[in-house]
Amino acid sequence: MENIPVIKTERLTKIFPMGKGEFSALKGIDLKLGTGEFAGLIGPSGSGKTTLLNILGSLDSPSDGKALVLGQSIGKLTAKEAAKLRKEKIGFIFQSYNLLQVHTVYENVEFPLLLLNYSANERKKLVMGALEWVGLTDKIKQKPPQLSGGECQRVAIARAMVKTPSIVLADEPTANLDAVNSHNILQTMARMNEELKTTFLFATHDDKVIGYLKRKIYLKDGMIDKDVTN
């Protein structure tokens, strides 16, 4: 199962203009990720983790090389096609949760389903299912400012998972959490990966996250330094 590549990059390069010169954030990355992998991009700041995550999440495009996500070439997608890919197949989890502050827990989790035009009944069923996964069914009417950091991140996970995406991209998901909450969150994600076979790709330099990863891809100066599978 893990042999089917959901993510594949070939000589992936990303160059940003910097003043009069250029800065190469990614220098010819070759990478394959199969279905159900629980992998992480590990490296210090400036190593290219977030840039790679952005490209794989179709939020940015490569300067050179190829990035195929679920068979679709990111560089060739129109803005509309990229939005469709994100909407249907990719879930995002952010360091700072990025919940919609004026909406309730229920509405935050419901939002991706609204974009997918699910009916009200289907939405209710899926939202409650996702909130059950993260143990927040008793907080559906609360708003993010009324929740703890750990609860917010659980809502973010439920929002990412509610549409059962093929890939979840998580950028430093535990950076704002304490050790107990971090482990809870990581256990939830590991369980989802285990049971739903969703591919998880993290960008992190947090040891707690690294401890949960089944595959560790170390980045250094925009290149893969090491790729270790447990």
């Binding site: 939020l59 940015d60 509309k80 952010f94 919609l100 909406h103 509405e107 609204l114 974009l115």
Partner: protein, 426 residues
């Protein structure tokens, strides 16, 4: 989805309440300013029309050429025939004969010697005929300070300030010393029926009013009048109607030549009123445009600030898969909702303030007491609510809000997705 957006809009006060207040204030100002300026300008025009120009005026050509001097030696002769002709041709217009005259008012003592004397500007108008609207038009009954309106021949009204200057009370005799139509000296005794205050500094300075028949007798103007003025139905000057009436009058007077032949003047042709008439007509557009521009700039900035504050929300919506165009359209839709709500509130508030101003007015007599223009400035300025005031606010209210949002939204729309994502993570 719309319900979801609406919930967000209502709950996020900085997205709804703040722009709503900005729009409501802006629209209130537009509606109030429009009503206020319209009121002032129309009042000025109508006050001038009532006392001086009429909406249209018929005089002789020679009189018209020297109209500022009110030259009664060039007055209309055979006036009763001309007015019949005018009434026949323009039955909807209310025609009235007037004689303007200048002279001295002399107040005698018990021995018949001059006690006091002062220069006066007089108006002779029809005070006694059944159906004459002249007393009503000049609001004489309400302007009365002492005494009564003239009820019989030989009575005269003096402005209150003038009567105080001369030391005259109602019932006292005064003598008008003037010049007859033929250029001889004219002396005519009047009994002071009462005093009036017009609320206009120029008129209150030294105006006297008497029935036109008395003035015709006094100035030897049998069946002669200085001017025949006409007032449009509805009570307000209408430039388009004036144009039609004047064109028709040219046909009516065709063949009449010479300096005593009648000629019609529109209100805009007199006392330099054309600029005011044009301004009144375009004032709504000018005010709306100025406010629209100002409000667009304010709302653009408010939109930009709001947009910057909403980077997080917009970034996450795009990351989750919402299309940029959809985000942009939803922002515009929000601005339409805010614009409409703000306009309704602003229009209601503006109309209420205008109504207060229309009902109670604002006393500006301190500013107008030294006015010397031919245009009569009323001492009490009032707003005037007209039908466009009920909908004019929608232009700056909705259009500016939407333009402001569209301009600020373009900045977000044009940003690269990854850039938004980065800002979102920052």
């Amino acid at each position: 989805m719309i319900r979801f957006l609406l919930k967000g809009l209502i709950r996020d006060k900085s997205r709804s309440l703040l722009p709503l207040i900005v729009v409501a204030i802006g629209v209130t100002l537009v509606v109030f300013a429009r009503g206020y300026i319209n009121g002032i300008m129309v009042d000025m025009i109508e006050q001038t029309a009532r006392f001086n120009t009429g909406h249209v005026k018929v005089t002789t050509k020679a009189y018209a050429d020297n109209i500022n001097q009110a030259p009664n030696d060039l007055a209309i002769l055979d006036a009763s025939n001309l007015i019949l002709k005018l009434e026949d041709t323009f039955p909807d217009i209310d025609w009235a004969c007037r004689i303007k005259f200048g002279g001295l008012i002399d107040v005698p003592d018990e021995q018949g010697e001059t006690k006091s004397q002062g220069p006066a500007m007089g108006i002779g108008l029809d005070l006694f005929s059944t159906g004459s609207k002249e007393a009503l038009r000049l609001n004489l009954a309400k302007s009365l300070v002492r005494g009564n309106l003239p009820t019989k021949e030989g009575e005269i009204l003096l402005s209150e300030d003038f009567s105080q200057k001369l030391g005259v009370n109602s019932g006292d005799m005064v003598t008008l010393i003037g010049s007859t139509m033929g250029g001889s000296m004219a002396f005519y005794n009047f009994s002071v029926a009462g005093t009036v205050r017009f609320g206009n500094t120029g008129l209150d300075r030294g105006t006297v009013i008497a029935d036109i028949r008395d003035i015709q007798l006094a100035l030897d103007m049998t069946d002669a009048v200085g001017e025949i003025i006409g007032f449009f139905p509805g009570g307000y000057y209408n430039d388009e109607l004036a144009e039609i009436v004047m064109a028709k009058s040219e046909k009516l007077f065709v063949g009449e030549t010479g300096e005593y032949s009648p000629v019609m003047l529109r209100l805009r042709d007199q006392e330099g009123l054309s600029l005011y008439v044009d301004l009144t007509k375009s004032m709504g557009t000018i005010i709306t445009f100025i406010f629209m521009l100002a409000m667009s700039l304010v709302l653009w900035n408010a939109g930009l600030l709001g947009g910057l504050r909403r980077y997080g929300e917009i970034g996450v919506r795009i990351a989750i898969g919402e299309e940029k165009g959809h985000v942009y359209r939803s922002m515009v839709l929000e601005s339409v909702m805010v614009g409409v709500a703000g306009t309704i509130i602003g229009t209601s508030t503006g109309l209420f303030l205008s109504w207060l101003m229309q009902t109670y007015g604002l006393d500006i007599s301190e500013f107008t007491k030294n006015a010397t223009t031919g245009i009569m400035m009323p001492n009490l300025v009032r707003s005037r609510i007209t039908p466009p005031d009920f909908y004019i606010g929608f232009i700056p209210g909705v259009v500016s809000t939407v333009i402001g949002t569209m301009l600020s939204g373009i900045g977000i729309y044009k940003r690269k997705t990854a850039q938004l994502f980065k800002e979102l993570e920052a």
